[in-house]
């Protein structure tokens, strides 16, 4: 009897060690595939917490997301932010929340004149990064990241790696694959863009007659391939339309007409209509870093002391002029710093095709005596999650980018002080 008892104690110890070993092996897989979000939740009441734990997580996430929808409808955008945090905590595999949330942060915070609060963009990028880390094996959020760079930030060079990763996934929506080609083209990698169109075109040719969708895809890709080649020929081939370069005669001025209200005007010698000049006002020396690495962790709040304004000015008859009123949005334009830079930029990559026909897609056809710059850049290195389904070659390339591209632009910077902008010292303020 004593011996049997001892055997049982031994059995207990052995079983304990076995379950401990199993648990250690199970844990990482659980974290990757089934866990709710890592960070502790903010703003969940205890019973919501309990419900979350008891297996209702996804359901609760869905309900909260519907609530978030109603906030969207009523324009209560601030309330949506904590919802993003809660919902992704409950269900980190809900792709819709990540993509919608990032869109929301990037596009929906605006001032009275519909100018975006660009301080939210690094938040959006961080949010997408988190989404990618939780869902590395699907293409969707890589695409969203690429799109944010391409469309909102207008930085095609950094959009490329993300689009490339998304493209590696076999179940990506076919039409979305076109974005990589557009991105490559805007980034100045013209041959790669053409190559990609050709590849897409050949793929489409295989399934061409299957159904309407497939033949439509084929037509679109064929057209894009032709148009791209024709554009390149027109701009860079023999007898390019981009030569001789056009003298832009670029200049710009800033005048403070009322406290926090600026009148910007200048000239840009492009005869074709549709040119746009970007104007940025920011705290001197503090440029916004558009990168998921800009923030250590995801927060719901932007730096309240940072001022950043960006607008796009239409050029008419080679002149541009706009009154920029920043007095109505004190939260967005706090004006706490002592000095500010007003920056004017014109660049060719996002200009309309007519304009690019004249000045080239990379600006070879434009010239300015004072403000012309060549921008040479490589994409920022990208941290690809371990379980992303990409080839080793691509992984090496995006983690350590080597390919450099360049383009020309004109840029002018004017410094203002706080006193200038607030018109202090005048009228006894």
């Amino acid at each position: 009897m004593k011996r049997n008892l001892n055997k049982l104690w031994v059995a207990i110890v052995v079983l304990f060690l076995v379950q401990a070993g199993l648990q250690v092996r199970i844990f990482p897989i659980w974290v990757r595939d089934y866990a709710p979000k890592q960070t502790a939740p903010v703003g969940l009441s205890p019973d919501q917490l309990l419900a979350a734990v008891a297996g209702f997580r996804e359901f609760l996430a869905a309900i909260l997301w519907v609530r978030a929808d109603s906030f969207f409808d009523s324009g209560n955008y601030d309330a949506v932010l904590p919802m993003l945090r809660l919902v992704t905590w409950l269900d980190p595999h809900n792709l819709d929340v990540y993509s919608t949330g990032a869109w929301h942060m990037g596009y929906n915070f605006t001032d009275e004149s519909q100018r975006s609060d660009r301080r939210y963009i690094p938040l959006a990028l961080k949010f997408l990064e988190e989404g990618i880390q939780n869902n590395p094996a699907v293409w969707d959020l890589y695409f969203e990241m690429g799109w944010m760079y391409y469309h909102k930030i207008q930085d095609p060079v950094n959009a490329v790696p993300w689009m490339q990763i998304a493209n590696e996934y076999p179940n990506m929506i076919p039409a979305r694959r076109h974005m990589l080609a557009h991105t490559l083209f805007k980034a100045g990698r013209f041959d790669d863009a053409v190559d990609h169109w050709a590849k897409l075109f050949l793929d489409a040719e295989k399934d061409r007659g299957k159904d309407w969708e497939s033949s439509n895809l084929y037509d679109v890709r064929q057209k894009n391939l032709e148009d791209t080649i024709l554009d390149l020929l027109r701009r860079y081939g023999p007898n390019p339309e981009t030569q001789p370069p056009i003298d832009l005669g670029f200049d710009a001025t800033v005048k403070v007409v009322r406290p926090r209200v600026l009148l910007v005007e200048g000239k840009l010698g492009i005869p074709t209509i549709g040119a746009r000049v970007t104007v940025i006002l920011r705290d001197k020396g503090k440029t916004l870093r558009y990168s998921p690495k800009a923030l250590k962790t995801f927060t719901l709040e932007v730096d309240p002391k940072l001022t950043y304004m960006q607008d796009s000015l239409a050029v008419r008859e080679e002149k541009f002029r706009r009154e920029i009123d920043m007095s109505k949005d004190p939260k967005m334009y706090p004006f706490k710093a002592e000095e500010y830079e007003v920056e004017f930029i014109f660049e060719p990559r996002y200009a309309s095709p007519n304009i690019q026909d004249r000045i080239g897609s990379d600006g070879v056809g434009m010239y300015d005596a004072r403000y012309l710059e060549e921008v040479r850049e490589k994409p920022d290195p990208v941290d690809v999650p371990e379980y992303a389904k990409i080839s080793d070659a691509l992984r090496r390339e995006v983690e350590n980018p080597t390919r450099e591209t360049s383009y020309y632009r004109v840029r002018k910077v004017i410094t203002l002080t706080r006193a200038d902008i607030l018109m202090l010292g005048k009228r006894g303020e």
Binding site: I29, A35, P36, G55, R57, F59, A62, V66, L95, Y387
Partner: protein, 260 residues
């Protein structure tokens, strides 16, 4: 073996006649059946998350309650009513009694899960028009989770009163669900010292880990790609079996010494 099975059968017979358990089962079935009515509230992801997410939540909750309510009083009631005396005066080893009780409890849980599973699959078939075999996996995992919980409750019932057991088992269940998440958030945070981290790691391998069995997420996000779900399923079920065996042996050892 005969005696164990006979006791299991008696336990099962008593359990399925226990009114409160039947009420819980019925309420769960009703809720699952009428859940499609809540569809307008679920928004974009709609029927799938609603029926399955809510349905799984209900199943798991019901299974948890049933396991706890059934097992807290299983052994103490037999002692209090002295029905155990006539049994132990027969050629029945004490361990056979414990084992028989557990087998009966698991049988009861299996019956409950079967009922709930059928209704869930009918509801999902009706509302979503399809039958996803992954639902079966989710149900089986939750069944093992409830069985593990039953073993925990049974273990405690060999030496604490039912009232204390409710709190003890409830606490262990809650802790066992939250520990994994907690450990994960600690591992992510580089500012956490080993002084805090190591005890949590230890706790995770000591306490029964109930969170492992929550596999319903991919069912509601079917575009997700999982890392080797078969291996995960096998390992987690093995974990359940090993831990249950551990608890049963410990229960038997304690019960052997128990005076009544």
């Amino acid at each position: 073996m005969n005696a164990t099975l006979a006791i299991a059968g008696a336990t099962f017979g008593e359990a399925v006649r226990k009114r409160i358990l039947m009420v819980i089962l019925l309420v769960a079935l009703l809720i699952i059946l009428i859940s499609p009515a809540f569809e307008p509230f679920a928004g974009g992801r709609g029927a799938r998350t609603l029926i399955l997410g809510f349905g799984f939540g209900v199943v798991q909750l019901a299974g948890t309650f049933i396991a706890i309510i059934l097992c807290t009083s299983m052994i103490p009631t037999e002692i209090e009513r002295r029905t155990i005396y006539t049994i132990l005066s027969k050629p029945v080893q004490r361990y056979q009694f414990v084992l028989g009780k557990f087998v009966g409890a698991v049988g009861t849980l299996g019956f409950m899960y079967l009922m709930m599973g059928i209704v869930l699959m009918i509801a999902s078939r009706m509302a979503l028009g399809e039958f996803d075999p992954d639902i079966l996996r989710g149900l089986i995992m939750f069944f093992f989770q409830s069985s593990l919980l039953a073993a925990v409750v049974l273990f405690f019932s060999t030496f604490v009163s039912p009232l204390v057991n409710y709190f003890l088992s409830g606490g262990v269940f809650l802790l066992g669900n939250l520990l994994s998440s907690f450990l994960e958030s600690i591992q992510r945070d580089p500012e956490v010292t080993p002084l805090t981290r190591v005890p949590v790691q230890l706790l995770t391998v000591i306490l029964p880990n109930f969170a492992n069995f929550n596999v319903q997420n991919p069912i509601m996000n079917p575009e997700q790609v999982l890392t080797d779900p078969t291996a995960y399923t096998v390992q987690t079920l093995a974990y359940a079996v090993v831990y249950i065996a551990l608890l049963l042996i410990a229960s038997m050892l304690i019960f052997n010494q128990r005076e009544m």
